[in-house]
Symmetry: C2
Subunit: 446 residues, 2 copies
């Protein structure tokens, strides 16, 4: 399929970045290198910096790590650390050695942090100032720092000789201040910082609440380690949301674009959960097997089994996704569990009663039109209505508590996927339904 | 419940922002105003700016709009526009009139844009330069601009006299350049811009791909209108992901934190979809009604109905969420539909055959242990296996195409929620299952 594009590229001689970017998603690894090598060096540098980390790594692997020194050295330390972490462990040292000695040390320091913590996200280069200089001197000094490749210059951080963070001054404030005032007179001392271990979702929340473009990272002694910038957080949020959404939908996180992941990996990521759910769902067959005699006697009930149990599954999926998202946003914490239980019992009862009434109505209407349910139709209707209330309540409770339980035991709350909750509730639904039937239909249908 | 916190607040006399922020989520509207009014004016200003737009609006409504001039005037124009849009239509003019004349005009101009387009997100204040001045003059000029409350100063935009955007120069480049060079020699001409109508998710993608902290917004004539900054995008991404996740879970978007939305609104947002699904799911009962004779003859099949149809629902939920997320990330477009079909047919067949074999295996093993399925157990196994293949294939296809179909007709792809797809597939699942049974069991069980 990609034939025409490749020959189009080859025909161009000197490639331009826009055409390459256009064709990129449908090129294979070799074609990408071919196209990339046709770019002139300035364009190639911009192009390389614009690629997602994973594709940078693929390109370098294809180019040959040893030949990629120039490209790797383009990267800011935090991006270089990300790049290195996307290589297999046995190749990381080779990539690391491509860096110049100063960057090597910086990146090495970053690699000790978990990829999803502030330490793994931060850039160790930032604008720094001493508190005891004038605004005029500070501005002159910052102009010199700017030359040394510092990404964000909206804020300058004021440090004492022990690297402890004393305050922050925005460029705006510095520019607006009288030139002869001292930095420590104009700086903001009331700082929001995160630690190196702060989880990236928590960093995102802080950044969002503060409305700043960068958040300083300090260690336990208050020493400045780096800054996390809003653009890094944009990436993080996208990735986290993608993972959560995919898990909620009942797959493992793909970690690759939908159209690019190999068929086989896709099948594995979906097949594992699907098989687990399938085996779990077999319990419904087992449960219904226990009630085979009842089924034979009250055949009309079996028609409604899928309806009843799926209403519990749907209510459970709703509750689970709402709680998972509220947890990710920090709106709900473990200690709120009892408030959630109270809410979900109330909501579950109202929803269950509503749906139960709809179910009862449907039986009554159908019966009055075509008499399919026999003389005990009203009893059948009651069984359905009461079962739906029980099943929906179970669903909302199970769905809302499962994410909390998962987090409590160290798992990702998003693993409480819609299909998982539905399966869980289906099995209990069968039990609830036949128990209600046994009670209400005793002496009539059963 | 909130009694102790309130008295704690009252007891403080002068309130500090941290304690108020701590207690905030559990305070009601009146208590919030009380606490807010205990803050000194500088702290109150910071506190107000840190609140989400919705809570700013609630606070102002409670304080009285006329008394809130000082707070409203604190806001940057884009934030003021958001605030005004969160008031009921008949109060917007009153809030708007609180602004000073210059801000009034700016905010009025912003209000014509859709809230979810670049025009509705952008800040009309940014650093601007002429191309024909020296770097030294530019820096001096920017220092003057900085005094007038411009949020982001990482980039300065170079405009011609007709406000057309010619290029961008980062502060870093400006600081690093020789003072006597001209701005148009150091500026970057190769610009990525968005238009005022660009959807916020597309703006997020551009910002992410570029790795910049701000993206310029230009009109059709290339005139600069404002900038969208990364911190605005952080908010947008969070909100969009929340909406998508909630819809995928089968509720309407809550638009409020889980623990703060009133019970009644929560029930409505969940109940509508749940009722629709419940009524839809009734079709399974209707479908099964058609096969009542077959059910009576091959009762063993009914035990497996929930298992078979739920495997289709699960496979469909997976496919739908993967495609919804890929669409949100821009990885998949309408024109990719045929590639998606091919992928999902392949994946669906592999998954279906895998699950079908598990199902067949289970029948064979159970039968060899306790003979529950009678002499035709192998035939029953085949019916289940073949049905599962058909149902899973239907599920993956329906799940993957539904988001595209929804977008094609102008709906939100995320409405293809896991419960919706599951319900859709359940009904077809019953039909598939009994059709397969009719063919395979003819002359034996049926």
């Amino acid at each position: 399929v990609t034939e025409p594009e490749v020959s189009a590229i080859a025909g161009l001689g000197r490639m331009d970045a826009a055409s390459l970017l256009e064709a990129w998603p449908i090129l294979d690894a070799e074609e990408r290198v071919e196209g990339f090598e046709l770019l002139d060096s300035v364009t190639a540098a911009d192009f390389f910096l614009g690629l997602p980390t994973r594709e940078q790594a693929e390109l370098i692997a294809q180019l040959g790590i040893e030949r990629s020194r120039a490209w790797v050295r383009l990267l800011a330390p935090d991006d270089a650390a990300d790049l290195i972490q996307s290589f297999p462990e046995d190749q990381r040292a080779t990539v690391l050695r491509l860096l110049d000695p100063a960057a090597y040390r910086e990146v090495l320091a970053l690699l000790v942090y978990a990829e999803d913590a502030a330490g793994g996200l931060m850039n160790p280069r930032y604008m720094r100032l001493r508190p005891d200089i004038t605004v005029e001197v500070a501005i002159r000094y910052l102009r010199r720092q700017a030359i040394r490749g510092i990404e964000v210059i909206d804020y300058a951080y004021v440090l004492d000789p022990g690297m402890r963070l004393l305050g922050v001054v925005s460029f705006r404030e510095l520019f607006a201040a009288a030139p002869d005032r001292m930095v420590d007179e104009v700086m903001e001392r009331d700082l929001v910082t995160v630690s190196e271990e702060t989880d990236q979702e928590a960093v995102a929340r802080v950044l969002r609440d503060e409305g700043h473009l960068a958040i300083p990272v300090v260690d336990a002694e208050g020493r400045m380690k780096g800054i996390v910038t809003a653009d890094d957080i944009v990436d993080v949020l996208q990735e986290e949301a993608t993972e959560d959404i995919q898990k909620i939908g009942g797959t493992e996180a793909l970690d690759e674009p939908y159209l690019q992941i190999s068929l086989w990996r896709m099948v594995r990521k979906r097949g594992v959960w699907l098989s687990v759910l399938f085996v779990g769902q077999m319990l419904t067959a087992t449960a219904m097997g226990f009630f085979e005699d009842q089924i034979a006697q009250a055949l009309v009930l079996t028609l409604f089994i899928p309806l009843i149990i799926s209403s519990g599954g749907n209510a459970g999926s709703q509750a689970a996704t709402l709680v998972i998202r509220a947890m990710a946003l920090g709106e709900v914490r473990m200690r709120d569990w009892w408030r959630i239980v109270r809410r979900e019992v109330a909501v579950g009862l109202m929803l269950g009663v509503g749906l139960g009434l709809i179910g009862l109505l449907r039986i009554v209407i159908w019966e009055s039109v075509s008499h399919p349910y026999g003389e005990h139709f009203l009893l059948v209707g009651y069984v359905i209505a009461v079962s739906v209330v029980g099943v929906v309540l179970t669903g909302t409770l199970a769905g809302s508590m499962l994410p909390l339980v998962l987090r409590r035991f160290g798992f990702d709350p998003a693993s409480a996927s819609a299909p998982f909750v539905a399966t869980l509730v289906d099995v209990t639904g069968v039990l609830i339904c036949f128990t209600v039937a046994a009670v209400l239909l005793k002496g009539t249908l059963l």
